[in-house]
């Protein structure tokens, strides 16, 4: 089969690139061996969390970009960042949508009892903002080991309780299981009864972010009706149900738009001819399928996703062998302190691209005529330190796809 665009990598970057091309009536193939870090960490949409909470990012981000021209945002530009975010949001019309508060960063409570700055917040988390000033009861589940309501409440000075669920039969319950149960009205009824045993009329109930996978607003509204309290979600350890909601929404809509999805499959080889990449081979034992395409967009992420690989002395890009800019030796990859204030140098390593998002060789020349690279695999950012992961993924996935299509 022949495609206008082949996107390798199914994280948020790949999904945005596929969306952008599909909306322009292009025939798109999206290949991914997993969901990337989207379903691990993407609870909210970070843009640049280190910018102050008082100033709208529309004002502060352009200044920051000016000071960091090498950053992927420098190649996208403020205008395209905003376009890309609008494009992302078009997949999430209310009621379950993502909003900022006054166009600026806000602090969202996390499962560790900390506050975390982020930009766009899902509707189910909004009421958690400013929690310290509110009276809340935090609810956890017996058998669910990734959220501890009493630890959270000790840090936020509110109250906590653990609900013992009969359907768990005293065993361990996973986040996905709980999220699925949440979608059953009968489960919500029993949950409400359990909560009411210890509820002292707090106007706000906080849950780990497990309020259903498909329709969290229905789950929330129903629980609010049953309890009479306001409800919010708290982001917890991976997997991230809010991230899965993003993935599921994209998958459903992109398939409807005609994108070909190859989930759970990885590219075994790229078909190279001269300075062109003509397609990909996907090993699907015992068969090898070949897909050809006009343009290839690489969005394979960093180490978790397999976009970058490290041996004991160097960091490589394994698929195309693209040059990776990096500290001179392993000794320089990480700072001596884990919580080093400036972040670890290794995070700034990555693939260097031109303003068109084409990968460059050491001499600064594009290596391929029809290959584009986007997402966190790019060099010169530290999304962990900056709190910019989803922003980079959305903005570069969108822009690189536009560039690939000649926009």
């Amino acid at each position: 089969m022949h495609f206008d665009l082949i996107v390798i990598g199914m994280g948020l970057t790949g999904l945005m690139a596929a969306k952008t091309a599909a909306e322009r009536k292009k025939k798109v193939l999206l290949i991914g061996k997993g969901f990337g870090t989207l379903t691990l960490f993407s609870n909210t949409i970070d843009l640049m969390g280190i910018l102050p909470e008082e100033v709208p990012v529309k004002e502060s981000l352009p200044l920051w970009i000016e000071e960091h021209p090498d950053h992927p945002y420098g190649k996208v530009g403020m205008e395209k960042i905003e376009e890309a975010l609008s494009s992302f949001l078009s997949f999430f019309p209310p009621p379950y949508t993502f909003q900022s508060r006054n166009g600026a960063n806000s602090l969202v409570p996390t499962g560790a009892g900390t506050l975390r700055p982020t930009y766009l917040i899902p509707s189910t988390m909004m009421k958690g903002i400013g929690l310290r000033e509110k009276k809340a009861l935090i609810v956890g589940f017996k058998g669910y080991k990734d959220f501890y309501p009493h630890r959270f409440s000790d840090l936020f000075r509110c109250r906590a309780m653990t609900v013992d669920l009969e359907e768990a039969h005293g065993a361990e319950v996973s986040a996905t299981t709980l999220a699925r149960w949440m979608e059953e009205p009968s489960f919500r009824q029993r949950l409400t009864e359990g909560i009411k045993k210890e509820w002292k009329g707090e106007p706000l109930l906080g849950f780990p972010a497990l309020l259903g996978l498909r329709d969290p607003m229905v789950v929330r509204r129903d629980l609010e009706k049953r309890t009479g309290a306001s409800i919010f979600e708290i982001p917890v350890l991976p997997p991230s149900m809010p991230g899965m909601r993003i993935f599921n929404t994209f998958r459903e809509k992109l398939i409807r738009m005609g994108v070909t999805f190859l989930l759970g499959q990885s590219v075994s080889r790229l078909l190279l001819r001269g300075d062109r990449c003509e397609g990909v081979e996907v090993a699907h034992a015992p068969l090898v399928n070949t897909y050809t395409g006009e343009r290839i967009l690489l969005a394979t992420g960093r180490f978790i996703g397999g976009g970058l690989r490290a041996d004991s002395s160097r960091i490589e890009e394994p698929l195309l062998g693209l040059p990776v800019t990096q500290p001179p030796s392993r000794e320089g990859w990480f700072e001596e302190a884990f919580f080093a204030s400036s972040g670890h140098p290794v995070h700034r390593a990555g693939v260097v691209v031109d303003s068109m998002f084409r990968p460059l060789n050491e001499g600064g020349k594009p290596i391929f005529e029809n290959v584009w690279v986007a997402g966190t695999i790019l060099a010169h950012h530290d999304s962990l330190y900056e709190k910019s992961k989803e922003g980079i993924e959305i903005a570069t996935g969108y822009t690189a796809a536009l560039k690939a299509l000649g926009g």
Binding site: L40, A112, R116, Y148, T162, F338
Partner: protein
């Protein structure tokens, strides 16, 4: 708090608790102060080798004889802390057979049972050995669980009347004329202060010997040698594997339950707190040990750690490997005119009991109450319930149940109930105390998930209140020391996950 004792021991390593046990068994009233948890220094930071003495047979015959004698005693009194694996000294082509011949002869002289094996015989026993080896010599090396050994000694000492005070520092010495009368102490967790009066104080602080002696304005000749070790995520050999050549870097692989420990380096350091393993040391250990077992090159390392060997210096030897691994017993009354103070230092984990015996002999003689030592005859309390690793595994499977609650540590399969029972049973005072006594944080992710969960449990049980994120951050920072130098390959991937959780998602 004010208390009296006949003998005060300073230091809760193997030597200190061994002394507490020895003296208590002789009917001497004993107290012990330790600034952290038991076995926090070199006693808990070594390769866990039950020396046969082979390692020292050529270079230090006295130490070799001590080793084989103590090896036999430990197998008898602490079978539950020992795995009798045997050990091989393998010769690579570049090592030649000359050293092997000297080695065999030296083992015979020191009465260490040694059997010469052909290349094929050695490969039959240990198929992961490099196929180019010339041959090997089999000796009765083994593996020892140092922490259990130390805790068992402490438990038995306590059962015989010793008072043990972990998490306690000594703030000053009480001196009257030329005699030490006791010390002032401070509880490091509560800040509570007190006095211990004791006619005899024994400095068993290992690498910290001079730190302690400085309170009396004294100093002894000691070299501090850092030894770095690596832990693999699975066991690579059944037996201890040594390189058959004069002692040098990266010449040993010790099996330890389900993992292997690769060692060691020898780097002179200035302070006993300087035990940071470096990237360079890690690379050197992988390069050298993979000469014996090539698989090591692709093995998943889970951690690096380092301990400080306290080496007693008789004269200015330059190479730390040349300094005797024997121990030194110093009577500061004789040496410095400060009566009532004794230092025991140097030595090795394997000779802790002998060091305790000789020190106790000296103290008892000085007190005019010579009593015979019995520690070589009386098994440690847990010896009756001896459990080999394979037996413990079976028990673990039986113990694994739905009622056990959720699995807090997915690497080592530790259920909630196990941790809750531990918390009920003992007076554990900080996170390290808990981690020392469970397998939590020992597996591949090194506590990346389970320590967060453990803190959750502690809040739930109201054992902890307030901001435990400071504890979590401290733990992650400590963990990082061992992780940072081994980050490549799969470890790099997994660490990106951990960092994305704590620095990213949780914004700690």
């Amino acid at each position: 708090m004010k208390t009296e004792t006949e003998v005060l021991i300073v230091g809760g390593g193997a030597t200190g608790v061994g002394l507490a046990r020895d003296l208590s068994l002789r009917g001497v009233s004993t107290a012990l102060v330790e600034k952290g948890d038991f076995a926090s220094g070199a006693s808990g930071r070594n390769h866990g080798l039950l020396h046969s003495g082979g390692r020292y047979a050529v270079s230090d015959p006295v130490a070799a004889r001590e080793c084989i004698a103590e090896n036999r005693i430990l197998k008898r009194i602490a079978p539950h802390c020992v795995e009798e694996t045997e050990g091989l000294f393998v010769s690579l082509p570049e090592d030649g057979v000359d050293f092997q011949n000297r080695f065999l002869q030296a083992c015979r002289n020191a009465e260490i049972p040694a059997t010469l094996l052909s290349r094929d015989e050695a490969l039959h026993l240990e198929p992961n050995l490099h196929p180019d080896i010339l041959g090997a010599v089999k000796v009765p090396d083994g593996a020892v669980d140092p922490f259990t050994l130390v805790v068992e000694n402490a438990r038995d000492a306590e059962a015989h009347g010793a008072r043990l005070l972990p998490h306690t520092t000594i703030t000053s010495l009480l001196v009257e004329g030329k005699r030490l009368r006791g010390v002032t102490i401070k509880d490091r967790i509560t800040g509570e202060e007190g006095t211990i009066e004791a006619p005899w104080v024994i400095n068993a602080t290992g690498a910290w010997a001079n730190e302690f002696l400085s309170l009396a304005g004294l100093r002894i000749g000691m070299a501090l040698s850092k030894g770095t070790l690596l832990v693999t995520n699975h066991r690579l050999t059944h037996r201890v594997i040594n390189r058959c050549r004069p002692p040098s870097d990266g010449d040993i692989i010790v099996p330890n339950d389900a993992v292997s420990i690769l060692g060691t380096t020898s780097v002179r350091v200035k302070t006993p707190e300087d035990f940071l393993p470096t990237t360079e040391e890690v690379d050197l250990l992988v390069r050298e040990t993979s000469r014996m077992v090539p698989q090591i090159r692709d093995a998943r390392l889970i951690r690096a750690y380092a301990g400080i060997r306290p080496l007693f210096q008789t004269e200015g030897a330059n190479d730390d490997r040349q300094i005797s691994r024997g121990f030194a017993l110093i009577d500061h009354g004789q040496r410095d005119g400060l009566h009532g103070l004794i230092t025991i230092t140097g030595g090795k984990l394997i000779t802790y009991r002998l060091m305790a015996e000789k020190t106790s002999d000296l103290v008892c003689e000085k007190m005019g109450r010579p009593t015979p030592c019995t520690t070589h005859l009386r098994p440690l309390p847990g010896a009756a319930t001896r459990q080999r690793f394979s037996e413990r595994l079976k028990k673990m499977n039986r113990g694994f149940s739905v009622e056990g609650g959720e699995i807090l540590c997915d690497c080592e399969l530790i259920q909630r109930n196990e941790v809750e029972n531990l918390l009920k049973g003992q007076t554990l005072r900080d996170l390290q105390d808990i981690l020392h006594r469970t397998r939590l944080a020992k597996g591949t992710c090194q506590g990346g998930f389970c320590v967060y969960r453990l803190l959750g449990l502690l809040h739930e049980a109201k054992r902890v209140e307030g901001d435990s994120n400071l504890v979590l951050k401290q733990f992650l920072e400590e963990r990082w020391r061992g992780i940072r130098p081994i980050l490549w390959g799969v470890a790099m991937k997994e660490e990106e996950l951990i960092e994305s959780i704590y620095r990213g998602l949780f914004n700690l």
